[in-house]
Amino acid sequence: MAKIRGSIVVNVERCKGCEVCMVTCPTGTIEMAKEVNGKGYNYAFPANPELCIGCANCAMVCPDGVITVYKTKI
């Protein structure tokens, strides 16, 4: 059976670490990095990439528009 798989790309240097995407993600794909970006923010990253379904909820609520979303059937 075909399975929906998604993947996100976070523009790390533009992320402000607000965590809004993380709490919105229905699958627990996103976590905040222990490391900080150039602005000093703990940035969002797909800690559990295999869980992503490409729903784009994270990208829709990101105030800084830093998330790009891809989706495919495999």
Binding site: Y41, G54, V61, P63, V66, Y70
Partner: protein, 259 residues
Amino acid sequence: MVEFSGIKEIIKPGNLVYKKTNIMTENSLSYCPGCGHGTAHRILAEIIGEEGLQSETIGVSPVGCSVFMYNYLDIDWQEAAHGRAPAVATAIKRLLPEKFVFTYQGDGDLAAIGTAETIHACNRGENILIIFINNGIYGMTGGQMAPTTLPGMKSSTSPYGRDVKTMGFPLKITDIVASLPGSYYVTRQSVHTAANVKKTKKAIRKSFQYQKLNKGTCLIEIVSNCPSGWKMTPVQSNKWMEENMFPYYPLGDLKTPEE
């Protein structure tokens, strides 16, 4: 869990489902982390892009945290003095009636210093869209009480909470606008969840369509957060907004056209 090693294979142009619209410029937003202003900007930009109106749209930016909005959307702009955006938009729309004209204003801008401009533009039925970001506070200047601040809500000028006996009641200016014959479509939305983002986008798209048909003033209130002014984390502020702002400012349409 199924082992999956093909993440790289998913990331290719044919599989793209969401990318920041190129109506947004490459400038970094000046907003605090998690501030709804950024989301509101982006979805407005998305509609302008999707409807192909980049060269047809003129925005009027306010005074408030979004004072630099003209740096963020790649369209034509006019900056207005504090609260005067509806008056400026009136002039632009009357001189260039074929253009799509909107204002973007905070609650301090629209419901305090600009109350007269708001009410009279809507009462005249000016054929413009007003986007009203209600975060219940003067964000830009350090979190002072606004007309929209909730009863009991703390701000830098109501440190013990807004006491309605001496400070008055929160002004539901959107309800007032809905009662005016000149307003055509008036709605209250939010942008803190994906579902709400979709609804607000729909409201913006409809407003552009109504403007094309010369229907009169459309006003979209977006109840939003101010994590810095409210002294909360962004995630806490969105929760607080749901629990405290939405009961006072319920989401939904206040005035819909009779189709």
